[in-house]
Amino acid sequence: MSIEIREARWDGEEATALRLAMDAELRPRYADLFSETTSAPTPVDTTQIVFTLVAFDGDQPVATTSLKNTDGFFEVKRVFVAESHRRQNLGARLLAEVEERALALGITDLVLQTGLRQPEAIALYEREGWVLIPPFGPYADDTEISRCFAKAIVPLFVAVELPARGAPATLVSDAVAAIGTFAAAGVDLAIIGDDLRDAPEGQARVDAPTLAAFAAPKVAGIGLAATISTTHTEPFHLAKVVQTLDHASLGRAAWQVAVSTSAEEAAQFGRKPAVDEPEAWAEAEEAIEVAERLWDSWEDDAEIRDRATGRFIDRDRVHHIDFEGRFFSVKGPSIVPRSPQGRAPIIVSVTSAASLDVAARRADIVRVTADRVTGEGRHRRGRPRTARHRARGRARGIRISPRPAGDPAARHRCRRCRSRFRRDPGCCSLRHLSRPVRAARRPHHPP
């Protein structure tokens, strides 16, 4: 069978016929809800249709769906596969085609509504990585029957790690050349590793953020992640380092969180004895919290340069963070004004149960190794569930996990219009409200 998916008119013959078949199939399932007094559904305003797709098997139209702009929500409408062509993955193919075309139009957030009594549809969306959300927009009042889903579509995101070590004489030039090669090859993110321990014989190491900052003006078009450990260091310092890297790279910075559990590293600092993984990651999570609060401590428009009153900043827009935790207390605000990305993406490499928990709660990008992808089965609720999700670094657990500390509304405030809730559909995308994976190459709100 050769199926071809083509763009069609919403009100064209094929699409209309397929939708009528869909209505005929679904109506009986909801018959008890449609009393005689229920008015017919309002006809779709065709000017809101972004595109309609029809799948053909030869000349025969066999499946359809459309994308509609409903008051700023890009809504996938009326996904239907003719009975003769089910169980051939055609629904998934249609959705993939919608995603690809939407992305080409610059649309990165999709929503859809289906009904409680369409378990096969719900299963399809869950399988394809859609996330259940509260009923949105026109469905907001229908919490009983409506089941709404969202999906942030992100193009394939490729990151390469290079260790910040090598031959002493050529380490720096080799690293910059490698990052240049990655950028030319379309890699999104260079993750610069770090390790405070002794380098292997004959090799040198360099501080990762220093190398990242040095590379920033030399290589354009690639994200630069610096590895920084939280175990013996100061969260205030590392927060400003990442912010400054973000300023120097014009919004291309990321932070790979690391911990130092060896006796060797403890002895370098001499501040406290070595700690185990769970303790080190608990501290790391607190350091992430401090860093993010510091990054948010200056509002975007804090600098006013108001000549009339002689004020450089509006001090009501620069905030103490007054953080008091188990490991740190930090007063704030950051000494560095808000950086282009505001919050740089946080990367956690999963190497243990403790790091998996922090990754699930805090990370924008999760790193897993291949043996873990293939070697493990189901995980508990709230953790990455399938190997495929883990491999894509976009596990649903990460998106929907409630964040444990702070005001959840404030955490999900839109950075452009500053609204805490969805105020302007054209501005605050669902990605803000759902803890997105931010692509370093395409910051959502560029400077």
């Binding site: 400054t244 000549r307 004020r311 620069v318």
Partner: protein
């Protein structure tokens, strides 16, 4: 790199001037309200500033540091530039776009740990090919400590002892040795795995002028960022430091003394004076004048007219620190207030006029020729070895100096026409 033949240098080798460029900071010297004033945080500003300094063959770019946003009377101070980037990170990025310019950062020994900071500095050394310098500062305020694990603060003698131990440990680490240090403040066991830099180790600067600070400088520093920018006090300080060097077994030429100085240029005397008056009034607004007075009087004075007379000395509240996060503190408030009131009465000055007079320090005003003469006089008569220049406009404030004053210094053979060496140390001690 443009390169001039060094024929203009006189063979009778005048003492050579060393210049450094202080990126405009977060005190009232920096005029943010000027139409030319740009961002204090965008990397493009650092790029422009560093390129100008390198064009002018300056020894180094100098960055100050802040670890807590300044406050006044319990609120964030909003009248001056607020916010700056992380020192180490900016220097690493500037290293990528410069070739010869030294990269000096102010970094605190009280709220850093030696292994981490020494590693960061060694890393800038590695990426820059040996152009790094470290201006060692200590912190004595609990206000800044509130941002750090350590918290609290150290008394004066302790913070210098800690700083000295900090530098000892750092130097051992920079030698790429296996360090096994157990001292009063630090226990450090480890090795950096970063090769020894082409200049051996970062150039060390120091700025404190207390007795402990002077000894610390005489023992460790390669240069001093001095506050003495008038000839008389400059010569006294210069003689004192060079004398102390001998006590640590060092030669008089092993430490450069570089006062910080702002400058105002005009093509004629009248233009310079006009510009000077504009800058002074832009630097000290009525609100800034009142807050400056509040810091001395230790109380709220917002009801006073900045263009009116000073408040009575009897209103001074002792032992209240209204400003936090600044380098300068008033120890004897009543004495300071009395001096201000007496000056105002003698010269018939308003609050704002007194503040302008008190806040204006180390200013070189004049035509390019006058300023070149003045700088040369400082160096040839041993009041300094050069200057750390502090422009008032970000980031273009250095341009005119480099275009107009530097060539005059070069013509008289007191200033390099090209970099002598590849490292900061080679250039500073050329």
């Amino acid at each position: 790199m443009t390169s001039r033949t060094p024929t203009s240098r006189t063979p009778t080798s005048r003492k050579q001037i060393h210049l450094a460029a202080h990126f405009p900071g977060v005190n009232n010297t920096t005029i943010w309200a000027d139409p030319l004033s740009g961002s204090q945080i965008d990397f493009a500003s650092f790029e422009h500033f560093a390129a100008t300094a390198e064009r002018g063959k300056f020894d180094f770019l100098f960055l100050a540091e802040g670890l807590r946003v300044r406050e006044h009377n319990g609120q964030i101070h909003d009248l001056d530039v607020v916010g700056r980037p992380d020192t180490v990170t900016v220097l690493a990025a500037v290293a990528a776009i410069t070739e010869h310019l030294g990269l000096v950062g102010t970094l605190n020994t009280t709220f850093n740990e030696p292994f981490e900071l020494a590693r960061q500095l060694a890393s800038i050394e590695l990426v820059s090919g040996g152009r790094t310098g470290w201006n060692i500062v200590t912190s004595n305020d609990a206000f800044t400590g509130e941002n750090f694990r350590r918290g609290g603060f150290l008394g004066n003698p302790d913070r210098y002892t800690r700083a000295a131990e900090f530098v000892d440990v750092s130097e051992a680490l920079w030698a790429d040795q296996k360090v096994d240090h157990h001292g009063e403040f630090f226990d450090v066991v480890g090795q950096l795995s970063i090769p020894v830099s082409p200049q051996g180790k970062p150039v060390i600067l120091q700025a404190g002028v207390s007795d402990e600070g002077r000894d610390l400088a005489a023992r460790y520093a390669d240069a001093i960022f001095s506050p003495f920018a008038d000839l008389e006090s400059g010569r006294t300080f210069y003689a004192d430091i060079k004398r102390r060097l001998a006590g640590f077994g060092r030669g008089a030429d092993e430490l450069k003394i570089l006062p910080g100085a702002t400058f105002v240029l005009g093509d004629t005397d009248a233009e310079a004076e006009e510009r000077y008056q504009y800058e002074r009034s832009a630097q000290v607004s009525g609100a800034t004048a009142l807050r400056t007075l509040e810091a001395v009087w230790g109380r709220d004075l917002s009801e006073y007219d900045p263009d009116g007379p000073l408040p009575s000395v009897d209103l001074v509240v002792e032992n209240v620190e209204l400003t936090a996060g600044r380098a300068t503190h008033h120890i004897d408030r009543r004495g300071s207030a009395l001096a201000w009131v007496e000056k105002a009465e003698a010269e018939k000055l308003s609050i704002r006029e007194v503040a302008i007079a008190k806040l204006s320090r180390g200013i070189l005003v004049g035509t390019p020729l006058q300023i070149a003469d003045r700088i040369d006089e400082f160096v040839q008569t041993e009041a300094s070895d050069g200057f750390i220049l502090v422009p008032s406009i970000t980031p273009t404030g250095l341009d005119e100096f480099v275009d107009k004053v530097v060539p005059l210094l070069q013509e008289r053979g007191s200033y390099r026409t090209d970099y002598e060496g590849a490292t900061l140390r080679e250039n500073l001690f050329a």
